[in-house]
């Protein structure tokens, strides 16, 4: 599925744009001008990686400092232990689109419980 994200001109380098879909996905524009899309929610707890610290091809979770590689989704060190999904980014006519991964997401326990209808 291709989802329109935002105009490339509206996403400066060093910034991220969150798509409010379920689960949310974020597009990162690195300082080097590359574009990446990953699941927005940290796999440790409910934190938005779009709020995190972008450096090179890595984003550091805004809460507890686990770093995710935007290219692979891999996480460097706990407290988060599972990777995030990566999604393909396509730019057409100045518009950024995200092609969603078909894999199952690694959501943190608190969110999985909520989606399953349990206590938040």
């Amino acid at each position: 599925m291709m989802i329109p994200a935002c105009r490339l001109a509206d996403l400066p380098r060093g910034e991220a744009h969150r798509l409010d879909i379920e689960p949310p996905v974020s597009v990162f524009h690195t300082d080097d001008g590359e574009l990446f899309a990953i699941d927005d929610t940290c796999t440790h707890q409910d934190a938005s990686l779009a709020d995190g610290w972008l450096e090179g091809c890595e984003v550091e979770c805004p809460l507890h400092a686990s770093k995710f590689d935007l290219r692979t989704g891999a996480v460097d060190a706990p407290p988060a232990k599972l990777p995030v999904r990566t999604h393909e980014v396509v730019v057409e006519d100045g518009m950024i689109y995200v092609r969603l991964s078909a894999q199952a997401p690694n959501l943190p326990p608190c969110i999985s419980a909520r989606l399953a209808g349990g206590p938040a």
Partner: protein, 389 residues
């Protein structure tokens, strides 16, 4: 270097061991830990774990597939460091000879003298403490938390959510004034009263009541607070007694350089036990925060492997978080040097704001409540300002 011993097998010790391997050290690596457990994460002990939302498996700091090729000597205390033999002495009589030593023995919860044998009185530092406290809270009743610092405040918030009747007693006029300054300390600690948790400030504790089991907290102003369970959250002291007489200089923890180097060659200190030189402030500081225990070991290990020949990079300003009553609190920098604090965004009444601390007009610290995005931006600015100066 053929053998490196890491003493203290928690966050800072594990981070040091990881850095050693990442930096290519392939010799013998021994990790010594007093607790019988593999490295686990402490922050959830006052939050999700205490609330029963996560279990022990989720506290593990190692990944399932992680193998550091290390010898783990757990459940044994180090009792001494012999500088001439270059050996770590263990409580069980063993001795580990090592060319390099990483001191990562952290800190231990302070207790109230004379209350040791009393049932229902808890501290919170270790997994065993947390198990006992969780069982205690499950009985419900009246909880008195002595000390309004971060750990005490988190226990109060968790216990409140579990349905206990909670009172927090703080000797200082304002809780958290040390780390946050009086104005913001007051705003953050007002979370207690917002939720119907009693907060008594400016009054000390004289003692505890009860024969075998605690039944009251006696205050210095003569008041008595009935209690079914008491948590003593009066801070932690660095675990460095085992280093007495070793030649490693001690002063509020292990006195060390910005890169962790101690007064003994081949010995570095990291984490909560390290009182390191901070080039920003020109003074030594001991910081009891998770992120420092995670990040700083890498430069200490670089120093150790290079025989002390590397210049440390400028560390990021200290950062910590706290979760209380569902509010995310984040802080970075040094409040102590500030002469001015302003709320830049949001409002303190909504418990969603960002405040910047300045000294002579320059930002030195930032506090956020439920503002992770703005907080990260400010934290970045603080860091680049710090690196530039």
């Amino acid at each position: 270097m053929r053998t490196v011993a890491v003493v203290g097998a928690s966050l800072a010790g594990l981070s040091a061991a990881r850095s050693l391997r990442k930096r290519g050290y392939d010799g013998r690596l021994v990790l010594v830990g007093e607790e019988p457990h593999r490295p686990y994460d402490r922050p959830p002990l006052s939050k999700e774990f205490l609330a029963g939302a996560i279990g022990e498996a989720e506290l593990a700091l190692e990944r399932d597939d992680e193998d550091l090729q290390a010898e783990w000597v757990l459940g044994t205390r180090a009792t001494g460091l012999d500088r001439t033999e270059r050996a770590i002495r263990l409580a069980d009589g063993r001795e580990i000879r090592a060319d390099g030593v990483v001191i990562a023995t952290g800190a231990a919860a302070r207790t109230l003298p004379g209350t040791e044998g009393l049932a229902g009185v808890h501290v919170l530092r270790t997994l065993d403490d947390a198990r006992a406290l969780r069982d205690g809270l499950a009985l419900g009743g009246r909880l008195v938390v002595i000390g309004g610092g971060f750990v005490g405040a988190e226990v109060a918030a968790t216990a409140y959510a579990l349905g206990l009747d909670v009172t927090v007693v703080e000797a200082a006029p304002t809780p958290l004034a040390g780390p946050l300054g009086p104005a913001m300390g007051g705003i953050v600690s007002a979370l207690h009263t917002d939720h119907g948790v009693r907060l008594l400030c400016g009054v000390g504790v004289k003692g505890l009541g009860g024969e075998r089991r605690v039944d009251a907290v006696l205050l210095e102003d003569g008041r008595t607070l009935p209690a079914d369970i008491v948590v003593v959250g009066v801070g932690a002291r660095p675990c460095v007694d085992w280093l007495e007489g070793s030649g490693v200089a001690l002063d509020n923890g292990v006195k060390c350089g910005a890169d962790g180097r101690t007064t003994l060659a081949g010995v570095v200190a990291v984490g909560d036990c390290a009182n390191w030189y901070d080039p920003h402030t020109g003074a030594h500081r001991r910081v009891e925060h998770w992120t420092g225990a995670l990040e700083r070991p890498d430069s200490a290990v670089a120093t150790l492997l290079a025989g002390g020949a590397v210049e440390p990079g400028v560390p990021r300003p200290p950062y910590f978080w706290s979760d209380q009553y569902g509010v995310r609190i984040q802080f970075a920098g040094h409040a102590a040097g500030a002469d001015d604090v302003t709320v830049e965004e949001g409002s303190t009444g909504d418990r969603s704001f960002l405040a910047v601390y300045r000294r002579a007009g320059r930002p030195v610290a930032v506090l956020g409540m439920n503002q992770p995005r703005l907080f990260t931006r400010w934290r970045k600015q603080l860091t680049s300002a710090a690196t530039a100066s």
